[in-house]
Amino acid sequence: MITVENLTKRFARKTAIESVSFQVEKGEILGFLGPNGAGKTTTMRIITGFMPASDGTVRVDGFDVFENPIDVRRRIGYLPENPPLYLEMTVVGYLRFVAKIKGVPKEKIDLEIQRVMERASITDVQERIIAKLSKGYKQRVGVAQALIGDPPVLILDEPTIGLDPKQIHEVRELIKDLAGNHTVVLSTHILPEVEQTCNRVVIIDRGKIVAVDTPQNLRFQLQGAERVFMEIQGPAPEITSKLKAMPGVIDVHTVGSNDGRHRFQIEGELKKDIRSDLARAVVQNGWGLYELQSVTMSLEDIFLKLTTAEERE
């Protein structure tokens, strides 16, 4: 649905993105993940045709953004980072204006406005002045605006920024709900958001793509080792040496102790479950086992690993 090839954007003083390429399939939710200033907004602005690229191409549904900008824009619903709201208008008045400039046929405008308001759950505030709405409602009016005309592609720049946890949950559910019929690209710098909503992740850092994959695969590929966390009562040096000697165990670190109980982090070989072996060893040695838990690397760790790797170069 969206093909981005070798996209580069140079500003007067800095290069915002460099040779960015990725594809988004129909019905997919693609997460665009990166720290602030990584080039997420720039990429999205180029896809939506707000801004031309210095180099490279973007095709949406077969149309080139630069050559057929109007055809592309007709297929995209865009929620910029700051929802583009005319604060002095009522919700309905605003959506009517958006419907008109998006070329929704006159006789369908009222129906379309009703549809998007229901979708974004803002029907109850339809006659209110936008300036008087809470931030969460404003954001949802922004989402409703993007949905007008039922475009096949939705580009959402930081759709949950500034919302409270309940509103964040609602917006995420809405986005998941939209997938399937729509192709969604959303950007965020919040990691759980990507894990919870996206089929695929593009991690971008300082204008370059550092990884593209599903959240699960990314975690799996980068993990490199199984980790187990244990809390054991007993002599620390003996425990460390005995556990280290076990088959499948790569390394054992002490991560703290308290009242004679010691906490360990054990790294095992990949795809080998050593938890039952560890438990048996503790019991056989007569130590006390207080906790045993396998630790999965969060996307957060992966993200940090990827984006700090470059710094060491």
Partner: protein, 259 residues
């Protein structure tokens, strides 16, 4: 076309929701009424004087309604100089400040449609202002029979002059996110285009004088006020407007590149 109308309609609503429209209308109507009254008083006094002279030197023709409209509508051009920047200051600067420009520039609209929508929104409000001047002019028709020809050309002149001012203000409002800066810059620019006339009077060479006089935004109005229709003046205002609109269009394009 529908897209352009939608932009015009939204902009007019914005004018009338905010106090801007009411303040501008009130001040404009008040000032134009005030000037009309003082011009009327002046012309009446001149009429009285000429009547006294006529007793000694014989009767002389005097077009009093014409003098009044000429004086009145020329004064309008000065008031518009102050009022126009207030109409155009927010057209693009507010969109930039609020981020709504991103909505306009990613909607299936061409940049030309956006520019024209904004321009005609300003023009529509300007036409409302011009309509209010028919209140005093209407009284002239009620109590005398002024020659309609010069009045029509004067209005045509004011209209063209206004279109050029709006286009200039529109261009300037693309340059900044700040309405006040846009207003002051527009005012300054129009003022300079006004004052080249004064510079022209001090110019040494005749060519320099001719060029400066031609550039003056106000010197072209004189003929319209006298009831003379001249293509060169029409072309002057139209080209000023088109250049400013073209600059606006280019400025939006550069806005896209710079982000």
């Amino acid at each position: 076309m529908r897209n352009i109308l939608a932009i015009i309609e939204r902009e007019l609503r914005a004018y009338f929701i905010s106090p801007v429209a009411y303040v501008v209308l009130t001040i404009f109507v008040f000032l134009s009424g005030l000037f009309f009254r003082s011009i009327l008083a002046q012309v009446l006094q001149m009429g009285l004087m000429s009547q006294l002279q006529a007793q000694q030197l014989g009767p002389r023709a005097m077009d009093m309604p014409g003098m009044i409209t000429r004086g009145f509508l020329s004064t309008m051009s000065v008031i518009l100089l102050f009022v126009m920047p207030m109409l155009t200051m927010g057209l693009f600067s507010e969109e930039k400040k609020r981020g709504t420009i991103e909505l306009l520039l990613t909607a299936p609209l061409t940049d030309l449609q956006v520019v024209l929508g904004k321009f005609f929104a300003g023009v529509t409000f300007f036409l409302i202002l011009l309509l209010t001047t028919w209140i005093p002019t209407g009284f002239l028709y009620l109590y005398s029979s002024p020659a309609s020809g010069p009045i029509l050309t004067a209005y045509l002149g004011l209209l063209l002059y206004g279109l050029a001012l709006i286009a200039i203000g529109l261009f300037i409002s693309t340059l900044t996110e700040n309405q006040i800066i846009a207003a002051v810059l527009s005012f300054g620019t129009i003022m300079v285009l006004w004052l080249v006339d004064v510079l022209a009077n001090n110019a040494d060479s005749t060519t320099g004088k001719a060029v400066l006089t031609y550039l003056s935004i106000i010197s072209h109005l004189d003929d319209f006020m006298k009831g003379v229709l001249s293509t060169s003046h029409i072309i002057f205002y139209m080209s000023l407007m088109l250049v400013a609109l073209f600059l606006t269009y280019r400025s939006i394009d550069s806005l896209r590149w710079r982000g």
